[in-house]
C-alpha cells in the first residue's frame, strides 16, 4: 500500500470518510423528513457561546468561529480530486490549494515590523533574532495570513547568516524564537506550514503558547514519531482551540500506524488531542473529530455548589466526532419512530444487533425532595408492571436466574422489534427544553474503523397515563454499510447495540448544568404578625392597624422584637425607610435582648 500521501488512506477509514461525505451531501437540513426545528432537545445547560440552552439542532447549524468568520480562507490540503462534490456541514471543505501555497508564501514580504520590539529573553544572539525576523517576515503572506516556513534549511537567509534551524541543529529555544516572531506578525497568523523541517514534538512545545489562534497547521514530512509528541503540540489543558486542519503526512507516527494497520487508532488519537479539528491529513474527519466548542466544561458560567448541593456541578452535553446533521437526523428519526411507528425501527438496527432494557424502580432523591410523586397526579398512575412483564434485564435484580437474563437479551433486529412493540407507548418531547436531555457521544475505534459510543439521558411521557419517566440509553452506532437494509431505508447510521434503562422521573430540569440539590432548601415562611411570640402579638393589638403593619415589617427586616421595633419607628416619625436606616446605624450597639 502506498503510504506517501493522504490520497491513499487505509480502506476502512476511507470507507468511513466516503460515507460521511455522502451522508453530508445527501442530507439536507431542510429535507422533507424533518425541518430544522424538529430536533431533539439536546443539551443541558449552557454552551460557552452563552446561549442559555443548546439543542441538538444547534449542532446542525453552521457554527461561527470565535472571530465571527465561518471558515478560514486557506486550506493546507492538496485537492483530493473530488472536492467539488463534497460538502460536510460544519466541517472544512477540502480545497485545492496545494500547488499555490508556495507562491503565496513568497509574495508576503510587505509587512516590515519595528525591529526593536521583541525582548527575547533567550540565549539566541540578537543578531540571530534579527536574521530569523527577516526570514519570518519574508515568508509571511499577510493577505492570506499564511506563514510558510517549509524547508527552512534551504532558505537563503538561513544560509546567509549561517543559522541553525530547529531540526537541523537548532533547539527548542530557537524554535520558540521563531514562534515568538511569528506571534508578532500582523494580522495574526492563521495558517502555518512547517513542512520538511526534520522537527520532533519537543521542538514544538512552545508553539501553542505563541500561536494559540492557529487554524491550519502543516507538519508534513517531519519526524514526529510518538503519540506524546502530538500532546506536546497541543497539551491537554490548552488544546489548540481553533485548529481546524492538521497535516501529519510523512511523519513516522502516521506512516507506522498505516503499516501496522492502526490507522483508525492513529486518527482517533490525534483528533482527540484537539478541540475542533475538522481535517486531518487532507481527509475530512467529521466522523472522528471533536465537534464542539464545548469540549470541556471548566469555564461554564454555572453556579457554584453550596452546602445543600453536591460538591460537583453538572456539566453540559459532550458531542464529538460526528457530523451534527447526521447525528441529529438519526436521533430525531429514531425517537419519533419509537414513539409512533416502532415496527419501522427494524431497519435502524443491524441484523445482528443486541437490545435490552432494564427497569430501575429507585425513586431519586431530588424527586423525593420535590415531592413529585404527590404533586404530579399522573405520576401515581404509572405502573412498572407493564414494563417488567416484557422482561427487564436488571442484572442487579435477577442475578439468580441466568436463563431469564439470557432471554432478556434480544439479538437480531426482528427480535428487537418484537420486544419494542410490547413495551408501553412513549412520547419523547424531543423539541422540548434542552434541560430535559443530555447526550454524550464520541468516536471509538471499532473493527478497523470507527463507531460512535452514544449515551442519551432524558425523559418521556407514557401517553396511557400522562405520567413521566426518565431514561438512560446507550447506543453503539456505526455508519450504515452501502446496500444494507438500513442504508436502503435512509438510515445513515445503524445501531449495533442498544441498552435502555427506564427509571423514575427525576426533575423538570434534570439535566440543567449547575449544582445538584441534595437537601431540601429551608422553607421561607412569609413573616407575619403571627411569626411574633404571643405576648408581643398581644402588646401590638392596641396599635392602629397601619402602625401595627409597620412594626411587623420592621421586625421582619431587622429581627428586632416588637418593643424595640415600636421604639425605632416612633423615634423616626413612623417612617419605615428612616427607621430601617436608623436601625442599621445602631444595630451593633443594641443588646441581644432587643432582638427576637
Amino acid at each position: 500500500m502506498s503510504v506517501s500521501s493522504a490520497s491513499a488512506p487505509v480502506p476502512g477509514s476511507k470507507a468511513i470518510a466516503a460515507t460521511a461525505l455522502r451522508n453530508a451531501g445527501l442530507i439536507d437540513r431542510d429535507a422533507p423528513m424533518r425541518d430544522a426545528t424538529d430536533t431533539p432537545g439536546g443539551r443541558k445547560g449552557k454552551l460557552r457561546s452563552g446561549r442559555t440552552s443548546a439543542r441538538i439542532s444547534d449542532l446542525t447549524k453552521d457554527r461561527p468561529m470565535s472571530n465571527g468568520t465561518r471558515m478560514h480562507p486557506i486550506r493546507l490540503s492538496a485537492s483530493t480530486g473530488s472536492s467539488d462534490s463534497i460538502s460536510i456541514r460544519g466541517a472544512a471543505r477540502p480545497s485545492a490549494l496545494g500547488g499555490r501555497i508556495r507562491r503565496n508564501a513568497v509574495s508576503g514580504t510587505g509587512s516590515v515590523g519595528s525591529a526593536s520590539q521583541i525582548p527575547v529573553r533567550i540565549s539566541t544572539k540578537p543578531k540571530a533574532v534579527e536574521a530569523w525576523r527577516e526570514l519570518v517576515q519574508k515568508r509571511y503572506n499577510a493577505e492570506a495570513k499564511y506563514l510558510n516556513l517549509d524547508s527552512m534549511i534551504d532558505d537563503e537567509v538561513v544560509k546567509k547568516y549561517n543559522l541553525t534551524p530547529p531540526g537541523f541543529g537548532g533547539n527548542a529555544r530557537d524554535a520558540a524564537v521563531i514562534f515568538k516572531l511569528a506571534s508578532q506578525l500582523k494580522p495574526e497568523v492563521q495558517t502555518l506550514s512547517l513542512a520538511n523541517n526534520n522537527l520532533t514534538g519537543v521542538l514544538l512545545t512552545q508553539m501553542h503558547k505563541y500561536l494559540p489562534g492557529l487554524v491550519n497547521l502543516s507538519l508534513q514530512n517531519n519526524k514526529l514519531k510518538e503519540k506524546r509528541e502530538v500532546s506536546m503540540i497541543s497539551p491537554r489543558k490548552e488544546k489548540m482551540p481553533n485548529l481546524r486542519e492538521l497535516v501529519l503526512t510523512g511523519n513516522p507516527l502516521r506512516e507506522n500506524a498505516i503499516k501496522n494497520g492502526q490507522y483508525a487508532v492513529y486518527r482517533s488519537d490525534v483528533v482527540r488531542r484537539f478541540a475542533a479539528l475538522e481535517v486531518l491529513d487532507q481527509e475530512p474527519v467529521s466522523q472522528i473529530s471533536f465537534d464542539a466548542p464545548h469540549a470541556s466544561t471548566s469555564d461554564l458560567p454555572v453556579e457554584k455548589p453550596s452546602a445543600t448541593t453536591f460538591p460537583f456541578p453538572m456539566g453540559p452535553s459532550f458531542v464529538a466526532g460526528i457530523d451534527g446533521a447526521t447525528f441529529s437526523d438519526f436521533l430525531v428519526r429514531y425517537f419519533n419512530a419509537l414513539d409512533s411507528q416502532r415496527e419501522t425501527l427494524v431497519n435502524a438496527y443491524d441484523p445482528a444487533a443486541t437490545f435490552s432494557f432494564s427497569v430501575n424502580t429507585t425513586i431519586p432523591t431530588r424527586a423525593k425532595l420535590s415531592g413529585f410523586h404527590t404533586s404530579m397526579p399522573n405520576q401515581r398512575k404509572l405502573i412498572w408492571g407493564d414494563w417488567l412483564e416484557v422482561g427487564s434485564r436488571n442484572l442487579n435484580r435477577i442475578g439468580s436466574d441466568p436463563e431469564k437474563m439470557l432471554s432478556n437479551l434480544h439479538i437480531g433486529s426482528d427480535k428487537i422489534i418484537e420486544t419494542l412493540v410490547k413495551l408501553p407507548r412513549t412520547n419523547h418531547d424531543i423539541n422540548g427544553s434542552g434541560e430535559k436531555f443530555c447526550i454524550d457521544a464520541y468516536p471509538v475505534p471499532h473493527s478497523g474503523s470507527m463507531a460512535l459510543l452514544t449515551t442519551v439521558h432524558g425523559e418521556f411521557t407514557e401517553p396511557s397515563t400522562g405520567g413521566i419517566r426518565s431514561f438512560d440509553r446507550t447506543f453503539m452506532l456505526v455508519p450504515a454499510p452501502e446496500g444494507s437494509r438500513a442504508k436502503l431505508n435512509g438510515w445513515n447510521v445503524v445501531i449495533l447495540s442498544d441498552q435502555w434503562i427506564i427509571r423514575c422521573y427525576s426533575s423538570h430540569e434534570a439535566w440543567k448544568a449547575g449544582p445538584l440539590l441534595v437537601q431540601a432548601l429551608p422553607k421561607q415562611e412569609p413573616f407575619t404578625i403571627n411569626s411574633l411570640p404571643a405576648d408581643q402579638q398581644t402588646a401590638l393589638a392596641s396599635l392602629p392597624e397601619a402602625q401595627r403593619n409597620l412594626v411587623v415589617q420592621v421586625c421582619a427586616q431587622t429581627k428586632l422584637n416588637a418593643r424595640f421595633a415600636v421604639d425605632c419607628l416612633a423615634g423616626n416619625e413612623w417612617d419605615l425607610t428612616r427607621a430601617i436606616a436608623n436601625f442599621n446605624q445602631v444595630k451593633d450597639s443594641l443588646a441581644p435582648d432587643a432582638f427576637l
Binding site: 431519586p364 432523591t365 436488571n394 426533575s507
Partner: protein, 124 residues
C-alpha cells in the same frame, strides 16, 4: 453469553470496591488510549483519568448499584458495554446522588480493561 453478565457483575463489583478503597489502584483498569468523559469533560489516558478520579472533591465514597445491564458492544468485535445506575454516597451524607455510568470493556489477556467510560451525575 451468560459469561457477559458474570464478567459485568464481577467488573462492576471490583471497580466500585476499589473506588471506595484505594482509588489510585484504578490505574490498572485503564490504558493510555482509554477515555473518560466525566460530566461532559473528556479526559484521555490512564494517568489523566486517575488524576481526575483521585482529585474528585470527596473523601469517602460508596457506590450503591440500583441497576446493571451488559451487552456485547458489537456483533463482530470482542468487547462489552456495561451500563450502571446507582447511588453515590459521599462522606456518609444521607442524601445519595444517583449516577449513571457506561463502561466499554475490552478483553486483554485473561482480563478486561476500560476502554471508554462515560460518567454522569444523574437526575439526583
Amino acid at each position: 453469553m451468560a459469561d457477559i453478565t458474570a464478567i459485568a457483575k464481577q467488573f462492576v463489583e471490583f471497580y466500585y470496591k476499589t473506588f471506595s478503597g484505594d482509588r489510585s489502584s484504578l490505574l490498572a483498569l485503564y490504558r493510555d488510549h482509554s477515555m473518560l468523559t466525566w460530566e461532559g469533560t473528556p479526559i484521555q489516558g490512564a494517568k489523566s483519568i486517575l488524576e481526575k478520579l483521585v482529585n474528585l472533591p470527596f473523601g469517602k465514597v460508596q457506590h450503591r448499584i440500583t441497576s446493571l445491564d451488559a451487552q456485547p458492544s458489537s456483533p463482530s468485535v470482542a468487547s462489552l458495554l456495561v451500563s450502571v445506575n446507582g447511588n453515590l454516597v459521599v462522606d456518609d451524607s444521607e442524601n445519595a446522588i444517583p449516577f449513571s455510568q457506561v463502561f466499554q470493556l475490552i478483553p486483554d489477556g485473561g482480563s478486561y480493561y476500560v476502554f471508554n467510560d462515560i460518567f454522569r451525575l444523574n437526575y439526583g
